[in-house]
């Protein structure tokens, strides 16, 4: 028997709660069979979840590291593994391994800064971990702004948490938008990049963006127009991953492996990568 540790061999995770967030996103709560958190992580890190026989895929850990009881994953239905997970019921076991990737620099770079979170659609999932971490250690950070948009009101992830918890926090400003007008919505209507420009943020902030590639691209352009430097902006990437530890070669872009050297990148670091992510 080979007694070495092997990262590719996963642990068992049990789904203890399934929350329907939007028509195509569910949030799964996962613990080990003995009811503990599978492993510690830092904000922005990911885990490999798998359904044996179906496949394995990388997901960002949505819950905050400060939650010591369980992990949460907000998962959009868009492929084999996610389709299967969306069918899963409470009590279903899956496998889990991690944590993988470089986290957001919450304890050094972000400390003492005003933070501007900008998310589109399911892109809020990786940021939720950071937002809740920063809310937990509220006094370590300056003002927090959260700009979040989705296709419709029904597609806004974590809506209840945003309204009931985030929006009521002191020093946290929440700005929501949806793509098209909708009955029962009296908030802002329009795409996230434009909304960011309309809101016209001061450049004394560190921005953290996550969303579809096109949204990231235009938001970054908008921030640059507002006077932000790329070194003030962080984002998180998603590419095909298999091993999670920088060996299998799939997520290799330039000299970086997104699973190991990312998924969190500062936007000026992205400029050094060839344009194929």
């Amino acid at each position: 028997m080979n007694k070495r540790e092997e990262t590719l061999i996963p642990k068992i995770g049990v789904i203890t709660d399934v929350r329907i967030d939007t028509p195509d996103i569910k949030t799964f709560r996962v613990v080990t069979p003995d009811g503990k958190k599978a492993f510690d992580h830092q904000p922005g890190q990911c885990a490999m979840l798998s359904v044996p026989g179906v496949g394995e895929a990388m997901f960002s850990i949505t819950s905050s590291p400060t939650n010591e009881e369980y992990m949460e994953f907000s998962i959009k239905k868009c492929g084999c593994v996610t389709d299967w997970l969306h069918q899963a019921e409470v009590g279903q076991q899956i496998t889990i391994r991690g944590p993988y990737g470089k986290p957001f620099p919450v304890d050094d770079v972000f400390a003492g800064k005003n933070l501007l979170f900008i998310a589109g659609g399911v892109g809020l999932a990786p940021l939720r971990s950071v937002i809740n971490y920063c809310r937990h250690y509220r006094d370590r950070y300056g003002e927090i702004d959260i700009v979040y948009g989705s296709r419709s009101k029904d597609d806004l992830l974590d809506y209840k948490e945003i309204i009931d918890e985030w929006a009521t926090d002191a020093g946290v400003n929440v700005h929501l938008t949806i793509d098209n007008p909708q009955e029962g919505w009296d908030g802002h209507v329009g795409f996230v990049p434009n909304f960011v420009k309309e809101l016209g943020f001061d450049t004394n902030k560190t921005a953290i963006i996550c969303g579809p590639p096109i949204m990231i691209k235009f938001t970054l352009e908008g921030l640059t127009e507002l006077g932000f430097d790329k070194t003030q902006v962080y984002t998180t990437l998603e590419l095909r991953m298999k091993c999670g530890v920088g060996k299998c070669g799939r997520c290799n872009v330039g000299a970086k492996y997104v699973c190991k050297d990312g998924p969190v990148f500062r936007c000026d670091e992205l400029d050094e990568l060839p344009d194929e992510y």
Binding site: E6, L8, N252, E276
Partner: protein, 342 residues
């Protein structure tokens, strides 16, 4: 340095095979040489090299990683790893020995790949100096010396004798095991042999090929080079180059339902394949040009950037010999590396 007469080599093989699995390049009926487990009566091939590289011994084309049993909502993970038996690979060429170092930097880097590591620990590498390199050889380009192949034991073959030199403790142990068949000798014959090889190396057509233009930090310089279109236009998108390459190490992990359980296995993958980077919602390399470029950029720029300037090519020439359209790293280096590479 020790030596024995070549006609005793099969006695040496027999002795080694008593305590370890011994793999030696053997000639196949189709004319290709292949590493196979040696047994009495089989003849060590004279071929320059095997079509499949010896990377298979440490990173096999397909291997089971673990098993799962599922029952209702429950899953059991079964660690199927077992201890590798001792084995010896005999007759490895200098280029292929170097390829292990390149693979080590991937698989033995933290977190260590335990599957690879356990084979690497149990394997003893006996190299053999090349006496007749092919026109497709360009190991010198990567600073490899076919006169002085590395590995746990180095060997040199002359018309009538074979010389052994241990380079590691593992190698010394192996030489002790075959001590009865060998005798102590000086290095005169080996030095002569080395000189002979050097003279041949100087006549190889690719001897001038240089890596000077390449290396880490050159992404901007080469990524948008206009020649990628032309270089990749004939590429069929098959995986021949990656699969015969001793340093290509990308892999896929997949599940296979046997009906009795689920096996999670890994297998070689190729960046040349259209689905290599395909995700549920997109693919970041849609054209063959992008996939083709990735392979060479990885070997000549990205890998050296992460590995102290070491290139991920050993000049073995397998891709030169086997690409169905004869497009290969040499043509790429000459085209985009400019005069410095020729």
């Amino acid at each position: 340095m020790r030596k024995c007469s070549l006609d005793k080599i099969y006695s040496v093989f027999e002795e080694i095979a008593k305590t370890a699995k011994l793999y030696v390049p053997l000639d196949e009926k189709d004319g290709n040489a292949v590493y196979k487990q040696w047994e009495d009566g089989l003849e060590w091939s004279d071929a320059l090299n095997t079509v499949r590289s010896p990377k298979d011994f440490f990173f096999p084309q397909m291997e089971n990683l673990m098993e799962f049993k599922t029952e209702g909502k429950n899953i059991e993970v079964i660690d199927t790893r077992c201890e590798t038996e001792d084995f010896v690979i005999f007759g490895v060429r200098a280029c292929d020995v170097k390829s292990f170092e390149i693979l080590d930097r991937v698989f033995l880097n933290e977190p260590v790949d335990s599957y690879y590591a356990s084979r690497r620990e149990k394997g003893v590498i006996v190299s053999t100096a090349c006496s007749k390199p092919a026109e497709t050889c360009f190991c010198k380009t990567f600073g490899i010396s076919p006169e002085e192949p590395r590995g746990d034991v180095s060997t040199w073959k002359t018309e009538s004798e074979i010389f052994f030199k241990a380079n590691t403790e593992k190698g010394e142990a192996l030489l002790r095991k075959i001590e009865a068949f060998t005798e102590e000798c000086d290095e005169t014959s080996v030095d002569e042999q080395k000189e002979k090889i050097s003279r041949v190396m100087d006549r190889l057509p690719l001897k001038e090929l240089s890596t000077d233009s390449f290396g880490g930090g050159k992404t901007d310089e080469f990524f948008n080079h206009p020649a990628w279109d032309e270089l990749s236009e004939a590429c069929l998108g098959c995986g021949t180059c990656t699969f015969v390459c001793p340093t290509c190490q990308c892999y896929d992990i997949k599940d296979f339902n046997t009906g009795k359980g689920i096996i999670r296995f890994r297998c070689w993958d190729s960046c040349m394949y259209s689905d290599f980077t395909k995700m549920a919602h997109g693919n970041n390399r849609l054209t063959q040009k992008e996939r083709f470029r990735q392979r060479f950029m990885h070997k000549l720029v990205y890998y050296p950037e992460n590995n102290d300037g070491l290139f991920s090519c050993v000049g073995c020439g397998r891709c030169l010999a086997k690409c169905p359209v004869s497009m290969n790293i040499v043509k790429v280096m000459k085209k985009i590396g400019g005069e410095q590479s020729e």
